[in-house]
Symmetry: D3
Subunit: 287 residues, 6 copies
Amino acid sequence: MFDPGLEAIIDLALAEDIGTGDITTQVTVPPATRATGVILAKAEGVISGMTVAGAVFARVDPSVTFQQSVADGESVTAGTTLGHVAGPARSLLAAERTALNLLQRLSGVATSTARHVAAVAGTNARIVDTRKTTPGLRTLEKAAVRHGGGHNHRFGLADGILIKDNHLAALGAPGAPDRVARAVRHARANAPHTLRIEVEVTTLAELDEALAAEADVALLDNMDVAQMREAVVRTAGRAVLEASGGITLDRLRAIAETGVDLISVGALTHSAPALDISLELVLDPTP
Amino acid sequence: MFDPGLEAIIDLALAEDIGTGDITTQVTVPPATRATGVILAKAEGVISGMTVAGAVFARVDPSVTFQQSVADGESVTAGTTLGHVAGPARSLLAAERTALNLLQRLSGVATSTARHVAAVAGTNARIVDTRKTTPGLRTLEKAAVRHGGGHNHRFGLADGILIKDNHLAALGAPGAPDRVARAVRHARANAPHTLRIEVEVTTLAELDEALAAEADVALLDNMDVAQMREAVVRTAGRAVLEASGGITLDRLRAIAETGVDLISVGALTHSAPALDISLELVLDPTP
Amino acid sequence: MFDPGLEAIIDLALAEDIGTGDITTQVTVPPATRATGVILAKAEGVISGMTVAGAVFARVDPSVTFQQSVADGESVTAGTTLGHVAGPARSLLAAERTALNLLQRLSGVATSTARHVAAVAGTNARIVDTRKTTPGLRTLEKAAVRHGGGHNHRFGLADGILIKDNHLAALGAPGAPDRVARAVRHARANAPHTLRIEVEVTTLAELDEALAAEADVALLDNMDVAQMREAVVRTAGRAVLEASGGITLDRLRAIAETGVDLISVGALTHSAPALDISLELVLDPTP
Amino acid sequence: MFDPGLEAIIDLALAEDIGTGDITTQVTVPPATRATGVILAKAEGVISGMTVAGAVFARVDPSVTFQQSVADGESVTAGTTLGHVAGPARSLLAAERTALNLLQRLSGVATSTARHVAAVAGTNARIVDTRKTTPGLRTLEKAAVRHGGGHNHRFGLADGILIKDNHLAALGAPGAPDRVARAVRHARANAPHTLRIEVEVTTLAELDEALAAEADVALLDNMDVAQMREAVVRTAGRAVLEASGGITLDRLRAIAETGVDLISVGALTHSAPALDISLELVLDPTP
Amino acid sequence: MFDPGLEAIIDLALAEDIGTGDITTQVTVPPATRATGVILAKAEGVISGMTVAGAVFARVDPSVTFQQSVADGESVTAGTTLGHVAGPARSLLAAERTALNLLQRLSGVATSTARHVAAVAGTNARIVDTRKTTPGLRTLEKAAVRHGGGHNHRFGLADGILIKDNHLAALGAPGAPDRVARAVRHARANAPHTLRIEVEVTTLAELDEALAAEADVALLDNMDVAQMREAVVRTAGRAVLEASGGITLDRLRAIAETGVDLISVGALTHSAPALDISLELVLDPTP
Amino acid sequence: MFDPGLEAIIDLALAEDIGTGDITTQVTVPPATRATGVILAKAEGVISGMTVAGAVFARVDPSVTFQQSVADGESVTAGTTLGHVAGPARSLLAAERTALNLLQRLSGVATSTARHVAAVAGTNARIVDTRKTTPGLRTLEKAAVRHGGGHNHRFGLADGILIKDNHLAALGAPGAPDRVARAVRHARANAPHTLRIEVEVTTLAELDEALAAEADVALLDNMDVAQMREAVVRTAGRAVLEASGGITLDRLRAIAETGVDLISVGALTHSAPALDISLELVLDPTP
């Protein structure tokens, strides 16, 4: 389906890899040579990006067939066959690296997300992503987070209201009377009715202000576990609570057990190592 | 200087983050509010992407001033001030995340590269990158590798000849007589004279073939240290030798000490965690 | 500030008007001729698009000076001077039509909106727009609605959840038990926490379902005034209520007085006549 | 057939509507759900934009079938079925609004044009459009004018010569001897031989000058009916005459009866209300 | 001034030349090195493309100064200084080839045109170009033709009506009664009034038909000089006459002397050799 | 196969030719008319661009069938049928000129190259192209050179190292001790290992320096035949030698016989006259 961002990043990636042409292939592989390939997971993880990889092959050459054995979101073990490709050898060689670069990175994000999700299993907390995504890959990485079992925070500045420290500063220095509450009310008066109002709080006093102003969501910024627990008690369901800031896998369970609703983790997208995936091609020998 | 790829990725990244507009800022920060900000390293590492970050701010609003205190390629400690920005608060808030996402990722690549380079200090081996880069960021990540002290392999399929297993397959099954040598000679006869001929070899017998055919560079694919040492002896300076395949930081020193010329490491770009860098903004309070 | 959609529509509009060049001007106006111009409202209304018009002149020729006397959102009478331009005559003639076409259309939208807003003055109802905007001008027309005193509904499919009849159909035929409630709960479970859940209801029974499922907003589709009044009573503040469907200026007051919170009007953008605005140029006679 | 402007406006319109994805549909409609739809005129008018709407659906998803029952240019009554669509429900929901926005606007232009054409039936006058079109939609709206029975004036600054007041100013103040004639002769000497020379005249004296200089077309700017009648007499077929300026539907017949050849009407494109057209979708219930 | 086609071709040309970066310069010229350069004609000819060359340097680096000593359209001798550039050496080296490639080609077209124009000096015939231009350079090459003293035929299919053999075929086989006249009348009835009607004729009988139908221009296709002379006599000023088809420099004078108005020459743009122009750079030695 | 540069130049060329539409065809050829055409060589030469021409027709209308009788790289005589097209007449007429403009130019380059290659037949010298290509057509013209039997030099600044006079100047004035050698060593230390190092030399002393520094390729700039012969002797196979500078067809044989390896000729691409090729269309008469 129409996805101009996907078309743009695929074209950009192919252009930077193929440039004026695959010179090695031109001087070693005859144009008529055909090949088949198998896409293999070389490590265990959660797959994301198979449909994207298919789109890469289709963009390079619509005559390539791409058959997908594993769906985005499935967990696989090392050695699992993810899919097959077949077509002109030159086309497969031209698409190979770009398809794999996308598939490996997105599967890396999905796999990292799945680990975070597993760590909070049985609690009410959702793992959510941030805007700390790879430039150009925002939508794809947000999908990878979902494939890993996580949930998405807003996609960008236009589809969510999150009043941060910097915005609050426009209404007075920290501690200025009623600063948080004024910001929330101002936002509600002006924002589209389709968006919830989320506000960042750094103290329990600010949280009280946010609740009084009927903020929909409060982001608990860099609070410790004891503070979060108290925040949950005070809030008593009147707002959604998001834990955020310096959250690592080893603290995750304790945070989730405070009762917060959401835990946002930038590392899901900015520091996930790629999942090892290969494409084994077999070229027909030249007759 | 003109860099259409840089313009394209900045536009794509800004478009996906800003979308139809920064709604939070619109409903909380008056248009006339100004702000200043300081870019801070929150961890030690090697910086890359400062000029790119400057280009992001300039693209969002040419009236923003961006002052750079640390050059790309410099090592910094946690707490180092990297630069300052000043301008309309709305512009800084709109550019912030995209600038940081690029700067953090590229500095992550530079920092990871520097660690690999340090591990081979005193040997003749160069650390080189691969084509396993982030889609859309190829040129920027290649620069980050240089900023970290590494060297670049080819930028794409057009500026280097690297005959791999798949290309060899077009000339016969593995072990087919003279397959490597035929490929090298075929490439030389057809390729531009500006490019060296590099060929992948998986055995010492194939290396002998490559040397006999006067390949310029041989890529030693997944060899163990003993094989590499023997390869260096046999080659005796007649070709450049590149070690490649499954190379991790802990094996790096031993590989370098075999005497190979180049060690290529995909993880420099596909699995480097982001370097923690923040932008602390101070908005002028509304008068 | 960065606005890729604005750049795109300005380039598209200039390209279709200027094409391979303004042949009339080339054969009648010498290149060195300079001109000044005054932008005049020829009818009363609310202005929107002055900054956009300025961007058009700047895109055609950065040396043109554009001075704005009236801000977007101001009401003017016929004869009001909106601004002045000065620069090379050829540049002004090339930009004139595109700048005016945008300014007239957007001011038409703002003026129409202001009329609708005036009709509900003193009630609690907000006038909101729809997605029935001119293709390519969505963001600009949404701003024009704000300039006219209206509020924006969602900007597109990504920044708001509005479950309509068609979506409900996927969960069963109209009247299927609990169809509305199931849809709302399903959306809440899967949607980003940043977005409110709005659902379209066509009967009061469906409204009850929506309220039971804690929908944030209910869209009252094509209800008559009596039904709306009853809907307000039943809702009792538990959800935001939006009146929608076939709303015309003459019914507006009565609808607003039912107590609904929002009234959405497609005609604000799809059928607003252009406001008559002219650019009177004075060319320096050729010396 | 290739139409880069059409591709550009469709992509722009889809991008602004779909953005990062149709979140409502994603959380309520399963990916495998299919749907069918019927496009219905809800008011009487002349249709334009059916092929454009088809292109929108094809751009969103080439697997959607679009079947057209009414051709562009046909008159329909309220309730007429214009066509049918069928395909994946998610694709139809994503394309729906953009397709309708284009179809409604273009049919609005065609319908308005048809009303103007009807008003001059039986005279020799042609109704022609202007450059006062919606930015980005020039070519489509010009086609809509033809569908409504009107004719096109030039498409832009490159495909016609129309010497206006502003151009004349470069040759001297109004009344400067022979200003109109000099402009016409200068244009003829320099313009491509493929273009006719049209010149704007505001007085009968200027018309005489234009005729003496053998202008091909004279635009009678803001003349009253008596002046136009006299202009027709004086011209005696030596030039084409175009009436222009503040022309409204109720004056149209009288103007046409003066014998002018062309009457240009900006309102055809800048102020035509959209024609009411709906797409009624039926989603298959989830099995 | 705004010229999207110019921006597009410059970006395309720079992208294909610079690609991922000027590697030679990066490894030999320090970033701080500055340089100056002089643009020199190495052969006599007519210059076209100086402003275009300036735009190339500005696109690569806005800090480069470009000073133009010779205007487009001037004749120069070998050794003439055309202009000077100064700025960062890396920027000048990156822009050099693209700027020169455009300047040499366009000056080649201007020079070739000037030779053709000189050959018809003293006659009434204008030399005009065709649509046989370099893909992507249409507008620039049409300007070069004017710089060389020629005139432009239509710029493309949209700004002129030229009914050729192929179009006539739709109305019947050659010789079908009144085929030419019917085509002309049909065109007049449907075409915008801004365009003249030109029709291709291959015989004097067809010319008679064209004249009877009041065609504005007749293209005499592949006629010999005697036929053209007769055509001029028969036409007696009732239409503009264009000679076309296989016209070479040595036949030009004789053709012009027949009295035809226009002679169109494809070779002006499709076969003009480049004019030899160089850029002599002087780099400041590294301190 | 994916070729973004090709897509870009085809779109640019079609847009400049078709613009807002083929008005002549619209007013003379009914939409349902079909046509067939034959592509004919009107002169002898080497064909290049047939696949490109096919891509033009496919871009205009995917329903057009394009059948290729002669492959790129084949020599043909005048009168040879190169291929056939069939489809809607309007589509063929819209694509015709752009397809031919590309095919004629590229075949002109291939034909000129073939003449140069023939002139050195039996020697060891290869004819190579330069970066003096038509802006926007670099990759296509480089392919045409190969079709004519030539070889390619680097495609742009990124895929080859060629140290010229200007780069040397950064290391000292001509004659500065060891300037050439220092440049070569500096390049080797910093350049990717995939690229050979080529350096321009203007004297035999500089050649000696280049050889001592183990340059891979030496470009002999504007040397006479005697100097070249001596250069070959001195080099004795230690480097590849390229003759360059003011090389014309009549000097070519003598240069080749000196024993140089490569002769680069800018005129292959910057001054090749188009090959005369026509498309003869036959439109079905209107029923």
